[in-house]
Amino acid sequence: MVNKSIDNYKVYMKINWFKYSSPQVFYPLAGKLIPWFAWLAAILALAGLYVSFMVAPTDFQQGEAYRIIFVHVPAAWMSMVIYIVMATWAGLGLALNARLSAMMAQALAPTGAIFTLLALVTGSLWGKPMWGAWWVWDARLTSELILLFLYLGFIALQSSIDDPRRADRAGALLALVGVVNVPIIYFSVKWWNTLHQGSSINMGAAPKMAATMLLGMLLMALAFWMYTVAVALMRVRCIMLERERNTDWVKELSLKTLSSQSIAGAK
């Protein structure tokens, strides 16, 4: 009796752990989660924008132009975090041979690339009035640019391999190699920069930030997080359908959708 319950418990644990790693189960769950994250993202972004435009004081040195940081800094954070998360998913997919992990990595890559681009563009928009130049070969700018190249390489490699399993694993390996290299690249660029330019503009010159400024930035960062989750889930749902189009559950799903549409059409 006891043994049996232990066995049951074991089975229960097993199912619980890996239940959501099956696309069939994860698909509807992701569908339910998306609206939550999307609404949270919208509300947080509205709150963040309100704080950053209405509440946060004007900077006495930089005037109104500093408000770009409310988009710029969270985007730069996200660009780095997403790369690490992506590589983690990719590594999990490679180690456990889990389809869904690789799909998550693939779903995250475009969002990460977009945030990197956003950080670069907003940075250069801010740089023009502040430094008088659209682009400075500063260590952070340069390494952000290289991060964009790494994202693009990952996306290009994945999209040029037709076999999805091979694409997943090749992409995963590349993401892991990239993660090992990111700190090396960052430090090399930093030393290169300090060697070449005696005194460049100090970007870290924000000793005391008003609490409202920090609040606005944090709100925006949270909004970006929620946006990332929502978009990644949406994208992973599309990838799931595309990859699993020959399976029974996708067929059932499409039949269901078709019949409900035809009912709606008849009404």
Partner: protein, 217 residues
């Protein structure tokens, strides 16, 4: 060892491949004076960067040949199922690639450095930096070559994958030569270059072997 010897022999039988890499290096580094102008001061100040970028590109265009022939004639599969560890065989192939494509560039570089008006001690540093740095290029490049094996448009794809990873080597290599030009010691840069090469010597064959297994599946 046998793999190394075989690859060297194959490369020697097809000497035009070797010549292509060298000529590419020569042509790229000759284009810059034509584009920028013959002022000696300008040329010698851009020389470290130009020579290193040219060496980097020369090493990169030959990467696609690293595994392609073995992949198409099936000998790569033999290596995959061979009793020897795959990483070791891969290392032998990479060494052969470096001897064929990297070493000649190292030997030719001082000649082009002379054309750019580099002083003698900088020429020496240039040779040292290339000698220490180009193995890292071959090693890191092998990962990209293995990942893109048999993929359409693999030549361009390799560039996109590998060039960002080359950046530290480029920075330290060109930095070493530039430091010696300004009368500073190039020691730190050379040590860092050697560190890059050693690190990739440990990790790159393993990653390349994993990539080959993925590609040849």
């Amino acid at each position: 060892m046998i793999v190394l010897k075989r690859d060297l022999l194959l490369a020697f039988r097809r000497r035009s491949d070797l010549a292509t890499t060298l000529f590419f290096f020569l042509i790229v580094s000759s284009l810059f004076p034509l584009g920028i102008g013959p002022e000696a001061a300008v040329l010698s100040s851009i020389a470290p960067g130009v020579l290193w970028v040219a060496a980097l590109l020369a090493g990169m265009i030959s990467l696609s040949r690293l595994f392609a022939a073995d992949f198409s004639d099936g000998s790569l599969e033999q290596m995959l199922i061979a009793p020897q560890p795959l990483a070791l065989l891969v290392l032998a192939k990479i060494s052969a690639h470096w001897i064929v494509c990297g070493l000649p560039v190292v030997l030719l570089a001082p000649l082009i450095g002379l054309q750019y008006g580099l002083p003698n001690e900088s020429l020496l540093v240039l040779v040292w930096s290339l000698l220490l740095g180009t193995p890292a290029l071959s090693l890191i490049g092998a990962i990209g070559a293995a990942l893109t094996l048999g993929v359409r448009g693999s030549g361009l794809l390799v560039a996109l994958l590998v060039l960002p990873l080359y950046i530290p080597v480029l920075i330290f290599g060109a930095g070493a030569v530039a430091a010696s030009q300004h009368g500073m010691s190039a020691q730190a840069h050379l040590s860092l270059l050697a560190a890059c090469s050693l690190l990739s010597l440990v990790l790159a064959p393993l990653a390349t072997a994993a990539a080959l297994r993925i590609s040849a599946e």
